[in-house]
C-alpha cells in the first residue's frame, strides 16, 4: 500500500473537507484516517490516504491538489509518508 499524507492549512471556510474529499473520491484515493484541529484560527487538517488504486501518480495528485487549494484559498500538500516516518521514527 502506498500511503500519502495530505495536509490542508489555511483560513477556515465552509466546504474545505467536502471539496478535498470529492477530489480524492473522483481519483480513487482511499482515506484511511483524518485528524483536524484549529490552530490560532487556522484550519489544520491531515489525512492519511492510500493512493495505490489511483490512476494518477503522486506527482500529479500533488500538483492538482495544490491547484484545488489555490481555488479554495488554503495550502494543500500531498507527500509520501516516508518523509515523515524517516524523520520522526527510528
Amino acid at each position: 500500500m502506498k500511503k500519502t499524507i495530505i495536509t490542508v492549512v489555511g483560513n477556515d471556510t465552509v466546504g474545505i473537507i467536502a471539496k478535498v474529499c470529492t477530489y480524492l473520491a473522483d481519483n480513487n484515493v482511499n482515506i484511511l484516517d483524518i485528524s483536524q484541529t484549529i490552530v490560532q484560527g487556522y484550519f489544520n487538517m491531515m489525512m492519511i490516504t492510500d493512493t495505490s488504486a489511483s490512476r494518477k501518480d503522486t506527482g500529479t495528485l500533488s500538483r492538482e491538489l495544490a491547484e484545488l487549494g489555490d481555488q479554495i484559498g488554503v495550502v494543500i500538500r500531498c507527500q509520501h509518508e516516508d518523509i515523515f516516518n524517516k524523520m520522526h521514527r527510528i
Binding site: 495536509t7 501518480d57 509520501h80 518523509i83
Partner: protein, 454 residues
C-alpha cells in the same frame, strides 16, 4: 502512526526554515573513456556522461514532488580530468577542449554544475597535470558550468609548494580571464588539502579513483532549521544546546538519506554517501552565522566564535552519523562568506576578518570559502594564503580549501555581486606584508610527524 504535530513540524521546516536537500550529485568514472586520440576522448566523455545522467534531473524533480522536499541542485562529478588527458592532450588548449565537452554534456542533461576539472598534485605534478592546471583560467572563462579543483597537499604527503606557487598565479589569471563578470571564474575554482573523493558539493566535487563506476551522493542542508530549534534553548547550558543540535541534525540528515536511497533505487545507481553539511545560502534565515549568534555571540567573529563553531560542527556530525548508513564528503558546517547573509553582515560591521576566518577553518569543514579580496592582491600573497590553509589541513588531518576571488578592478570597501546561490560579498582586506621569498623557495613541505601530538 505519524501524527499531525509531526507532520506540521516537518512542513514548517520545509516552508519556513529553508530545509532542503542541497544537491544530488552523480559521480561518474571516466577512466574507461581514455583514448590517445583527443577527438575520440571527447566523444567518449560526452557519451558516458549523457548516458549515465540522462534521467538524473527528471528523477530528482519527481522525488522532490512526491515527498514535498525541495532538491535544489542536480549535479555531476567526474574523474579528475588530468588523469584522462595524459595520452591525448599535448597542450593546455587540448585540455580546454575537454572542459568544453564537459560543459556541453552538463547542458545536455540539465545539471547546473559539473565538477572534476581537477588535478591531484599533493606530492608532484605530471606534465598532463601541469597542462591542466595552466588551462584552468581559459577553461573557466570559456565554459559556464564546469568547476575545477586542485589538491595541493595531504597529511600523508605534505604540501607541494610548487603547486601552491602555481595556483596563486592561476587564481589570479582566472580572475583576470573573467574580469568582465567580476572575476566569477574564481568562484568555480577550489584549492584543496586532503580533498575527499566523494564530496557532492561544488565547486570542489570530483569523482575519486577509489570510487565505483557511477554513484549517487547527496548533500543535505538546513542551517535555518538548526537556528530555529536553538531558539527554544536560549540561555540553557551547553549539554542542552548540544542535545538540540544533535536531534535537529538527525532529522535533517534522515531526509537526505531518504532522498539518496530513492534516487539510487530509481536511477539504478549505487548509493555512495550523505554529506552532513550545514550549507548556507544568501536567503534570510539560511545562515550558519545566525546559528553562531543564536549560540550567544553578538556577531560571527566575536571572541568565542571558534569554540561555538567547533561544538556546532561536532554535534552536527554526531547527530547526522546516526541518521545515515554512510557518511562522507566534507561533512560539517560551511562558512562561505558571500553565500551567508550573517557572515556578510559580520564582515561589513568589522566583526569578522580574514584571520578569524582562518582560525575558524581549523574546527569546521572546508576553509576560506567565497571570500572576495582586492583585485591587486599579488599572486604570491594568494599562494601564501593557500599554504597557510593547506598547513592547517595537513597538520589537523582534515580537509581544508581556499576559494578566494581577487576581484579585478575593485578594492576594499567595494562589494561584488555573483548572483544566485553564490551571493554577494564585501571585499576584505588582505595582510599586505610580502611572503615572496617563502613562496619562491619551491619544492615540498614534508608530511608532519604523527606522534608527539601537541
Amino acid at each position: 502512526m505519524i501524527n499531525i504535530f509531526e507532520v506540521n513540524e516537518t512542513n514548517k521546516m520545509i516552508e519556513h526554515e529553508n530545509l532542503d536537500v542541497r544537491t544530488i550529485t552523480m559521480g561518474i568514472s571516466l577512466l574507461d573513456c581514455v583514448d590517445s586520440d583527443l577527438k575520440k576522448l571527447n566523444e567518449n566523455i560526452y557519451n558516458k556522461i549523457t548516458n549515465c545522467a540522462r534521467n538524473l534531473v527528471e528523477t530528482g524533480e519527481k522525488i522532490s514532488m512526491e515527498y514535498g522536499i525541495p532538491i535544489v541542485n542536480k549535479r555531476i562529478s567526474v574523474t579528475p580530468i588530468a588523469l584522462l588527458g595524459g595520452a591525448a592532450c599535448h597542450s593546455s588548449e587540448d585540455f580546454v577542449s575537454i572542459a568544453k565537452t564537459l560543459d556541453r554534456a552538463a547542458k545536455e542533461v540539465g545539471v547546473n554544475f559539473i565538477g572534476g576539472y581537477s588535478a591531484l598534485v599533493s606530492k608532484g605534478m605530471t606534465p598532463a597535470e601541469e597542462l591542466l592546471i595552466r588551462s584552468i583560467p581559459r577553461a573557466l572563462a570559456e565554459t559556464e558550468r564546469v568547476c575545477s579543483s586542485v589538491n595541493v597537499g595531504s597529511t600523508k604527503t605534505g604540501i607541494n609548494m610548487d603547486a601552491v606557487k602555481l595556483m596563486g598565479e592561476i587564481v589570479l589569471e582566472t580572475a583576470k580571464a573573467t574580469r568582465d563578470q567580476d572575476s566569477l571564474g574564481c568562484a568555480k575554482l577550489v584549492v584543496f588539502c586532503n580533498a575527499p573523493d566523494d564530496n557532492p558539493f561544488m565547486a570542489g566535487a570530483f569523482h575519486g579513483v577509489t570510487e565505483a563506476d557511477c554513484i549517487i551522493n547527496v548533500g543535505v542542508s538546513g542551517p535555518g532549521v538548526v537556528k530555529t530549534a536553538l531558539e527554544q534553548v536560549r540561555g540553557k547550558d551547553f549539554e542542552t544546546l548540544c542535545e538540540m543540535i544533535k536531534r535537529t541534525a538527525f532529522k535533517v540528515t534522515r531526509v537526505g538519506q531518504l532522498v539518496a536511497q530513492e534516487a539510487s533505487k530509481r536511477l539504478g545507481v549505487p548509493f555512495g554517501i550523505v554529506d552532513l553539511s550545514l550549507a548556507p545560502t544568501p536567503a534570510i534565515g539560511d545562515s550558519v552565522a545566525e546559528i553562531l549568534e543564536e549560540i550567544g555571540l553578538e556577531r560571527a567573529g566575536a571572541p568565542g566564535t571558534t569554540a561555538a563553531l567547533a561544538l556546532l560542527n561536532d554535534q552536527v556530525k554526531k547527530g547526522g552519523v546516526m541518521a545515515s548508513t554512510a557518511v562522507g564528503g566534507l561533512s560539517g558546517a560551511f562558512i562561505p562568506v558571500s553565500e551567508d547573509q550573517g557572515m556578510i553582515d559580520a564582515v561589513n560591521e568589522g566583526a569578522l576578518t580574514l584571520e578569524k576566518l582562518e582560525a575558524m577553518t581549523c574546527v569546521c569543514s572546508v576553509g576560506l570559502d567565497m571570500i572576495a579580496i582586492p583585485g591587486d592582491t599579488k599572486a604570491s600573497t594568494i599562494s601564501g594564503i593557500i599554504a597557510d590553509e593547506a598547513a592547517i589541513g595537513m597538520v589537523n588531518q582534515k580537509t581544508t580549501a581556499v576559494r578566494v576571488i581577487p576581484v579585478i578592478g575593485k578594492g576594499v570597501g567595494e562589494t561584488v555581486e555573483f548572483g544566485g546561490l553564490l551571493g554577494y560579498a564585501p571585499i576584505m582586506p588582505v595582510n599586505s606584508f610580502s611572503c615572496d621569498a617563502f613562496v619562491e623557495r619551491g619544492g615540498r613541505i614534508p608530511a608532519p610527524i604523527h606522534s608527539f601530538k601537541n
